[in-house]
Amino acid sequence: MTEKLVIIGNGMAPGRMLEHLLEKAPGRYQVTIFNAEPRVNYDRIMLSPVLSGEKAYEEIIIHGDGWYIKHGITLYKGHKIVAIDRQAKTVTSDHGVTEPYDKLVIATGSVPFIIPVPGHDLPGVLTYRDLDDVRAMMLAAQSRAKAVVIGGGLLGLEAAAGLNAQGMDVTVLHVMPTLMERQLDPAAGYLLQRAVEQRGIKVITKANTQAITGNGKVERVELADGTVIPATLVVMAVGIRPNAVLAKEAGIAVNRGIVVDAGMRSNDPDIYAIGECAEVNGQVYGLVAPLYEMARVAASHLAGNEAAAFVHMDTPTKLKVTGIELFSLGDFAEGDDRQEIVLRDAAAGVYKRLVLKDDRIIGTVLYGETADGAWFNDLKKKQTDISEMRDTLIFGQSYQGGAPLDPMAAVAALPDDAEICGCNGVCKGKITGAITAKGLTSLDDVRAHTKASASCGSCTGLVEKLMVLTIGDKYNPAAVQPMCSCTALGHDEVRRLIKAKGLKTIPAVMQELEWKTSCGCAKCRPALNYYLVCDWPDEYADDYQSRFINERVHANIQKDGTYSVVPRMWGGVTNAAELRAIADVVDKFEIPMVKVTGGQRIDMLGIRKEDLPAVWADLGQAGFVSGHAYAKGLRTVKTCVGSDWCRFGTQDSTGLGIRIEKFMWGSWTPAKVKMAVSGCPRNCAEATCKDVGVICVDSGYEIHFAGAAGLDIKGTEVLGLVKTEDEALEHIVALTQMYREQGRYLERIYKWAKRVGIAEIKRQIMDDGEKRKAYFARFVFSQKFAQVDPWSERASGKDKHEFRPMASVGFAQAAE
């Protein structure tokens, strides 16, 4: 019979424990998890990059919903356990779910420490612990107002850098004389403070917070020395303490944390504790490496191996603030029995300090240049006698024995048991072994198989070097296809950074994202122009010089340099007056060819560029506007005659098509968008091979999307059925906006849908009403600036220069 394993908490430690357990004893337990947070397991270390906008939440998920389903694990999201009944062996959640257990693992983590000053409970005082805190901070940052971060440790500084990146005016208050005093000595603390201040963050040390005041919400922070700092947001990041309340109430032995033995077992033999809530050998831990070690030990015990034991380890600390290199390890207090080696390079902003005892490294602080961290860590761990290389030790591994090594050679020289990934305790040999044995060629593969660089990511460079050393050219570091040769970044990266960094011009994007060319190329400029138009509809000034000629002159260039012109015929419906106007234009400008298009409208081909404004003026007189037949934007909405005429028609398909077209014309999209509305499932408008299509049925409107009938042929996917025309419009518009925001330039809807997943699109558009309405609202806002007929603008003289030669030369001479 399978035993019941219940886990309280769904952070990184229990997530890792389950991975080990599923590997060691698959099928032994029926697993149930209660997570007080309403979500899956994500990488909490990466919250700082989420706050600064460098990563999205979706990118830091460790186990998605599918993982729990695949392994038959029941996950209660948003369920906080309120009681453990050790006699009955059950746990009960705040929503009233009671679950029996044979084995229980408590992984309730820690709670942020709140300084009990007056005003600590005012609205606007936050902690920095989980995704909800990050979201609240990002929301507060939108006001671009002032923030105070209390606490100049690792967490406080990462919070401050994140809020600063979000555009807030940030002050850090730290009670000690130097920043991060537990990990850094005063010299490095000073360098760090200078670097933080250079980013525009104010730092006040020896700051004793006396009160947070304000009328119903945070307005200022008052210090003991009388200083008053205005603020609308206060983040408390002064430390954490183990969250052991639940265990204590259940009568389990608790000291600072839940007391466990080296096998992670509490004084109740069926109850284990792992993670930040656990206390082993009198120590509690907060960095991920020892927590993962606890997870491994607990999994071994649960799988029946009673021998596994947790051993204390020192873990290096790294600050995850982009642009600040900092590494700290071990003990670096001064003492009579200790010696130190220090290297300072003020100009380069480098500071290195090694603390030695009996010719062995016991502590390391590196600032500004941390490449040798792994090596020093290795020497410390192995207690290597360094007396032989003492003179050159501080210069790093490259200087040991002969000529300086290049970085690649330095990695090659590391012994097989040198630790590469501190978070996951992965050594060099394990990585190179996995690469060879499993034929791994991408970073993602290595992360999946070995976990190296899968947590905080700071060892990614080392792992990549190992891949190059092991498989050479077969390793393609650009698993992400760059946009073009002007950048190493892919489309998604660029789109995200445009939003995150608030970049609003093409030069700003190129400057901030370190473009390799001075003004881009014909591939990246139109893409950037689209992304900026889409993301900042009201602020961005469209750069016509970065658009292809067709979109610049609002007509389609032909092989002989002439143009073709297609006016809009709403829903493919026209009348005598319109046809007469077209006939007149054709005669007047001697247009050589008139053709009916596949999108139910009329194309006039062979128009000379100089004639375009006059052609448009005449067409405009008859009420025509541009059909955007040249645009990466909404093209046509094909219709059939529907219930007005057809004996089979179930709804007014023509009317709906016209309504959609009138609502959506003028919008720019990553690639062209063609739509159709058919009045019945006989589908005369061929809606099931369009980017977006509607099939009307008696009960309403079946919305389709992601079809293709060009280079690829593909039938549509069904988004869902809605009852009314209004709903149909809202869903179609929301879907298009989602595509506008996520699609890569020139990527049609069907390719985008394949990439992000049909199910995800359905979930956001069909099931999540709030999200759908938000997409809809953003589209409507954008249309305010987009629905301007480009033809009438040009017929009235805009961009005259585009249509006329600047001069005529040589004709007189030729006549002589």
Binding site: T517, S518, C519, G520, C521, A522, R525, P526, Y544, Q545, S546, R547, F548, I549, N550, R552, V553, I557, K559, G561, H801, P805, M806, A807, S808, V809, G810, F811, Q813, A814
Partner: protein, 109 residues
């Protein structure tokens, strides 16, 4: 050399081009992001595409028909493509722009 006035720098948008009509065909006059001016035949060596309609980047233009990239300085196709288009000397005098007419005539003759 017979320099013929064709207009002013501000007639051409930055990272853009204008055409000058001449007896033997159009001449494309380009202005780069840093205000250098180049003149070449408005005729891609590949299939005759109007280069003046392309996207200007650095000192090159990408042809609007099939994306050949042509150097404005040398008239040569860049990258793997091979071909060359005639370049015409340009003089900038303050704001005013001139092209060398002999160059045209000699070729036309």
């Amino acid at each position: 050399m017979n320099w013929v006035s064709i207009g002013t720098l501000s007639d051409i948008p930055r990272r853009g081009a204008r055409c000058v009509a001449a007896p033997e065909g159009k001449i494309a006059v380009f202005r780069t992001a840093d205000d250098q001016v180049f003149a070449i035949d408005d005729h891609c060596p590949h299939k005759g595409g109007p280069l003046s309609q392309g996207i200007v980047h650095g000192t090159a233009v990408t042809c609007p028909l099939h994306n050949w990239v042509i150097s404005l300085e040398t008239g040569k196709a860049l990258g793997a493509d091979e071909g060359v288009v005639r370049t015409i000397p340009v003089r900038i005098d303050g704001e005013r722009l001139f092209i060398a007419l002999e160059a045209l005539a000699s070729r036309a003759a």
